[in-house]
């Protein structure tokens, strides 16, 4: 039976746990790619699912996967807003590079450099590349999170890849 429906109608903890097993790793991957440290990603993964439980048990939601990623996105924005307040940084890229991506070793993993370049792209390009390639979301799923049409997402993805090629 439809898991989110069971959470709404019966406050079914077992159904919610199934949703956790299905989505937690994907959500965490997205968060790891957006946050400075794995521990931050673990904390925000837990917060994502706790907030989503409150929402799912009070409202009928047809796409729980989209809800989890929407909540995760908002938590990332809140995270950097708090960072900006406490340390006065301008952008997520600066925080990420300060933490462990930039300058630790001369011979960095190629993927780490690519991720750094992605982080320096404009927000909507960076996000769509990470949602698609890191969290393995299909254009239709990304569309339901971002409010775009699936074709709009495919076109944005095409542009994001082109922008990345230009700076690599």
């Amino acid at each position: 039976m439809y898991l989110a429906g069971r959470v709404f109608s019966d406050k079914d903890a077992a159904a919610f746990e199934e949703l956790f097993e299905k989505y937690a790793a994907l959500v965490r991957r997205f968060l790891v790619s957006r946050l400075p440290r794995p521990e931050d990603a673990d904390d925000l993964t837990a917060d994502t699912f706790l907030r989503s439980w409150e929402y799912l048990s009070a409202s009928r939601v047809e796409k729980p996967g989209s809800l989890f990623f929407r909540v995760a996105r908002n938590l990332v924005a809140d995270f950097y807003r708090r960072q900006k307040d406490t340390v006065g940084l301008d952008s997520a890229a600066e925080v990420a590079s300060r933490e462990d991506l930039a300058g630790e070793t001369a011979d960095k993993e190629e993927a780490a450099v690519v991720l750094e370049k992605i982080a320096s792209l404009r927000e909507e390009y960076a996000e769509i590349l990470l949602l698609h390639y890191v969290s393995e979301m299909k254009p239709r799923e990304i569309a339901s999170i971002t409010g775009k049409t699936p074709n709009g997402v495919r076109i944005l993805l095409h542009r994001a890849k082109k922008a990345l090629k230009e700076i690599l």
Partner: protein, 355 residues
């Protein structure tokens, strides 16, 4: 050497992203589920009680409902069926229950039920599309749910037309409110991801049927207004017009945007699309843009007719614009498919420059 696409795909298994340490994962799961289990234990499942009360209040003379009663677990069964989707084990109970409700209902109650069931079919189609990656049969089931939505909408419309023939004033009031609901359902179809990004003939047929339903009920509601000239029927008419106008204007904006995006894509990568099959030329996109722009004159005529009380003319003009936009949409979807299917020009992996 990996190509660019493979480089991107390998990001998810990179050291930076990595796999989730099992102890850390277990800690996060425990943190979440400890809270969830406590809150779940406190909650009462209200929705299942609603379903029980619905069935206790109705006389059980229908064979299938009696069968469910005899099997002993009827309230739990019906409750379990409530959120089920096509392909789920309880879905047939859900549909049998709906048919039982319809057979017990009077004409006016049936019209209301048909709109409720049309809304459910739309929700089911959305849920199935969302589950398409884990259920191979989901897309086909979603198409069937949309066909059932079309059927329920048609039955609701037929009921409204039938009610309209009655002389009972209370029934006439219902024509307006159910007519409004049908118009909203017709507009809601465009917003669902089950139909966005689809260019199949079946989906187009569902959209055409929704447009026809909206037009038929508009005509019925105008009839009611012309015979009663009441304030409430005028309010309902204006509300319906507003819903349909919003739908047409949203369609115009979306179509224009899609044409602009296609133009931009063709301009950015001309080599890729030069010889690709089915890809439009700029003159083709220009013709589509003109077709969309031309619908504005029908919309202007509709709005002028509304301000002078010419409701029938207003709805007719709006319907003209809607159908023209539907035809344009079909062509846009076909062009988009050709553009997105055009083969990429292979590039070699790019070695990142040193910082």
């Amino acid at each position: 050497m990996k190509n660019f696409e493979q480089q991107l795909k390998s990001l998810k298994s990179s050291k930076r992203i990595g796999s989730w340490d099992s102890a850390a994962r277990a800690q996060v799961r425990a943190r979440v589920m400890n809270v969830v289990k406590v809150e779940a234990a406190r909650a009462t499942p209200v929705q299942s009680l609603w379903f029980v009360s619905q069935f206790i209040s109705r006389p059980l003379t229908i064979g299938t409902a009696a069968f469910v009663l005899l099997t002993g677990g009827w309230s739990a069964t019906v409750s379990a069926a409530a959120g089920s989707l096509p392909g789920d084990s309880f879905y047939s109970v859900k549909r049998i229950t709906e048919e039982a409700q319809l057979r017990l209902a009077s004409l006016d109650r049936r019209a209301v039920l048909h709109t409720e069931f049309a809304s459910r079919r739309l929700d089911e189609a959305e849920a199935l599309v969302a589950a398409a990656d884990t259920r191979p049969e989901a897309k086909a089931l979603a198409h069937q749910a949309l066909t059932d939505y079309k059927d329920q909408l048609a039955r609701a419309t037929a009921d409204v037309v039938e009610i309209n023939k009655a002389s009972d004033p209370a029934a006439k009031t219902l024509v307006s409110s159910v007519g409004n609901k049908i118009t909203e359902l017709s507009a809601a179809l465009d917003k669902t991801s089950a139909v966005q990004d689809q260019s199949s003939a079946d989906i187009h047929e569902v959209k055409e049927a929704a447009a026809s339903a909206a037009s038929a009920v508009a005509s019925a509601v105008v009839d009611v207004h012309e015979s009663s000239a009441s304030d409430s029927s005028e309010r309902e008419l204006k509300a319906m017009f507003s819903t349909l106008l919003g739908k047409v204007q949203a369609r115009q904006t979306m179509n224009r945007h899609r044409i602009d995006v296609m133009s931009a894509m063709l301009g950015e990568d001309p080599e890729r699309f030069k010889n690709a099959a089915g890809v439009p030329k700029s003159a083709d996109l220009g013709s589509l843009a003109v077709a969309v722009a031309n619908t504005s004159s029908a919309v202007d005529l509709a709005m002028s007719a509304l301000t002078t009380g010419g409701y029938r003319a207003a709805f007719d003009e709006l319907e003209k614009a809607d159908r023209a936009l539907l035809a344009t949409e079909q062509q846009i979807a076909a062009y988009e498919f050709s553009i997105l299917s055009a083969p990429e020009i292979e590039t070699e992996a790019i070695t990142p420059k040193a910082p």
